[in-house]
């Protein structure tokens, strides 16, 4: 692995929730992200997986400082983003971009595609005429020069997502956060967009944080994977280690819950059925947050929070009774 591009240390994000309960008003804290640490190398792809409410999107937004973390540090190319002045942060932002899930909502319907793609260049004050750059970007994502004059409604979902990618690429970023970038696309279209991400990375060498709930896509694209549950990373490591030898019970259950497109494998598989739902992040369980749904839970799990520990297959997981 090459030099680290990004170092996230003990990231915490709490949201304040105002509950209006008839006459009384209460304040509650939603612990969306708790003590998340990870690093990302240059040209590397980190998959961030977890169910809804696991905090994966919040992590992505804290990294870009689209929302202000409660505590913890995010270092990008050695600079602590929290210590930067507004103008400095703004200058650094050109190296960090994001592609959102919904290609229908993330493009302005009243702007031509060309105007949408050149907007980041204008915002960042890149001088000159951007026509050639827009054409270059459109071709880079598999669209053509004459698409620049058209409007978003003239494009299919897959094409709109490509436009969003072209816009993210405009400033030659070193990091792109892909937040569920293929979830809204049809199956036959997904594959082409995933291939595009891979091609762009091998040509331009940027790093990705790929946030998704689809574990098969993450397995395909990620070098390393972090599994989140209720705001914490429960397992993190090389893609192959995590998928082939999951050591956290939650990872194991999550992987076994994913239906595979192969009837013979499906019949032969033993599945771990988790009971119930993810608990509320307003009042997460003490100790290990997964213990309320874990079949291995003992008294110690309620009292003592397990720390991320290196396992024989190379990854780290936070569990008192890891799978072997």
């Amino acid at each position: 692995m090459s030099a680290e591009l990004l170092n996230v240390t003990n990231l915490v994000k709490n949201f304040e929730l105002r509950v209006n309960n008839g006459a009384r008003r209460k304040k509650r804290i939603v612990q969306a992200v708790t003590n998340v640490s990870f690093s990302l190398g240059k040209g590397e792809t980190l998959g961030l997986v977890g169910e809804s409410g696991s905090g994966k999107t919040t992590v992505g937004r804290c990294v870009l400082r689209l929302i202000e973390p409660t505590s913890g540090s995010v270092e990008f190319e050695g600079q602590d983003l929290g210590s930067l002045k507004f103008e400095e942060l703004r200058a650094l932002r050109r190296k960090m971009q994001i592609v959102f899930q919904d290609p229908f909502a993330s493009l302005d319907p009243k702007m031509t595609v060309g105007a949408s793609i050149s907007e980041p260049l204008i915002v960042q004050g890149v001088p000159g005429d951007h026509t050639d750059k827009v054409i270059e970007l459109l071709e880079l994502v598999g669209l053509s020069a004459d698409h620049a004059q058209r409007f978003p409604h003239e494009f299919s979902g897959g094409q709109r997502q490509r436009i969003g990618v072209a816009r993210a690429l405009a400033l030659n970023p070193a990091l792109i956060i892909l937040d569920e970038p293929v979830s809204a696309l049809d199956v036959s279209i997904q594959a082409g967009v995933v291939n595009l991400f891979e091609d762009l990375q091998s040509r331009l060498g940027m790093s990705y944080i790929f946030i998704a709930h689809d574990l098969s896509v993450v397995r395909h694209i990620a070098d390393r994977v972090a599994v989140m549950y209720l705001g914490k990373i429960v397992e993190i490591g090389e893609q192959e280690a995590v998928y082939e030898h999951p050591t956290h019970p939650y990872t194991k259950a999550l992987l076994s819950a994913v239906p595979l497109p192969d009837p013979k494998t499906e019949r032969a598989r033993t599945r771990i059925m988790l009971e119930g739902d993810v608990p509320s992040p307003v009042n997460p369980p003490s100790g290990c947050r997964f213990r309320t749904r874990c079949w291995k839970a003992q008294d110690v799990c309620a009292q003592e929070e397990p720390m991320l520990t290196v396992r024989p297959s190379g990854q780290m997981s936070a569990c008192h009774f890891p799978e072997s």
């Binding site: 169910e51 239906p259 009837p263």
Partner: protein
């Protein structure tokens, strides 16, 4: 061959839009046998939901529906509103992706289940309430008698979907249509709901039509599968034959485009789904098909027996054998 509970023949559904008529379903044939779990796959716009909304008589009046839908011998196309009211919830039920919008927020769960029971069966209020609690137990809701007195907002997404299933099966319907029932749910909750659906199918012998875009879900629970493209059925068969030797180029393309363990490059289907205001002539898939020939532009293929599959492709016999995905 087992008894057919639902027979759809030459179904056409057309919507008049400002841009002209849009034919969402274009001559669909489909059979559901008693007690089976039939998967229906297709991408957005393939007509899979519209087909079953038409079956339920739930399309807006401006939709033009022709063809034949026989539910245990009873013709549903052209049936009166009164007749459809008696069918829906009694012999034919449907559940949807979003369970919250299917429930009434101001009524207790138990009341919503007994309402369904009493609208089709001659039951006293207390009998219906008792039965409602039993149904909650069947779909795996803990402490069913307490939960029956709660409101929808007190339930999680997975629990709400269980409640909706309880309402749908209250009158022991012959056919339960489940339209993307797990798409809005997390994968661990999806596994639970699929298990409930399978349990209902086995325990009551209910035929289930599971509409989904997820071929993994199909592989897990379905007995047979229908693949839809551009408002038509392009292939159908048992899941084993379909995954082992898909014959239609679209089915092959779908299966080949899925990520599988190992780092080989993904193979997308080229192009994008057709605009249904102006679908391609002949076989609608010819614009994206790697095997397309001139004949495909002119001839609308029908389902033809091909080995143990039914395939709507004029070139099915000439094509090289597909790789196996089983």
């Amino acid at each position: 061959m087992t008894e057919k509970v639902l027979e759809i023949r030459d179904l056409h559904v057309t919507f008049d839009t400002p841009a002209g008529p849009l034919e969402a379903v274009r001559g669909l044939d489909l059979d559901v046998s008693a007690g089976e779990l039939l998967g229906v796959v297709g991408e957005s716009g393939s007509g899979k939901s519209v087909t079953f909304l038409a079956t339920m008589g739930l399309l807006p009046v401006r939709a033009r529906v022709t063809g034949s839908v026989l539910l245990a011998g009873e013709q549903l196309i052209g049936a009166s509103a009164k007749q459809m009211r008696s069918v829906r919830g009694r012999t034919l039920s449907m559940i949807f992706q979003d369970p919250l919008s299917a429930l009434n927020p101001v009524h207790r769960i138990g009341v919503q289940i007994s309402e369904m029971l009493r609208s089709h069966q001659d039951l006293s209020a207390s009998e219906a309430d008792k039965r409602a609690v039993e149904l909650l137990d069947i779909v795996g809701i803990p402490q069913p008698s307490d939960r029956a007195r709660q409101y929808p907002h007190e339930f999680s997404g997975g629990m709400r979907q269980r409640v909706v299933i309880a309402i749908a099966i209250a009158n022991n319907p012959k056919v339960l249509i489940a339209d993307e029932p797990t798409t809005a749910l997390d994968v661990t909750v999806q596994a639970q709901i699929l298990e409930v659906i399978e349990r209902v199918q086995e325990r009551f012998g209910t035929a289930v039509v599971l509409i989904t875009h997820d071929l993994g879900v199909i592989a897990r629970v379905a007995d047979r599968v229908n693949v839809m493209y551009a408002g038509r059925n392009v292939e159908q068969g048992t899941i084993d034959s379909l995954f082992d030797h898909p014959s239609h180029p679209y089915t092959r393309g779908l299966l080949a485009s899925l990520p599988r363990p190992g780092k080989q490059r993904l193979k997308p289907i080229t192009g994008f789904p057709p605009n249904m205001l102006n679908p391609p002539s002949g076989c609608a898939f010819h614009t994206r098909c790697e095997f397309a020939a001139d004949i495909c532009k002119n001839e609308l293929p029908n389902l033809v027996g091909f080995g143990d599959l039914l395939t709507a492709c004029v070139r099915a016999r000439e094509l090289p054998k597909s790789e196996s995905f089983a």
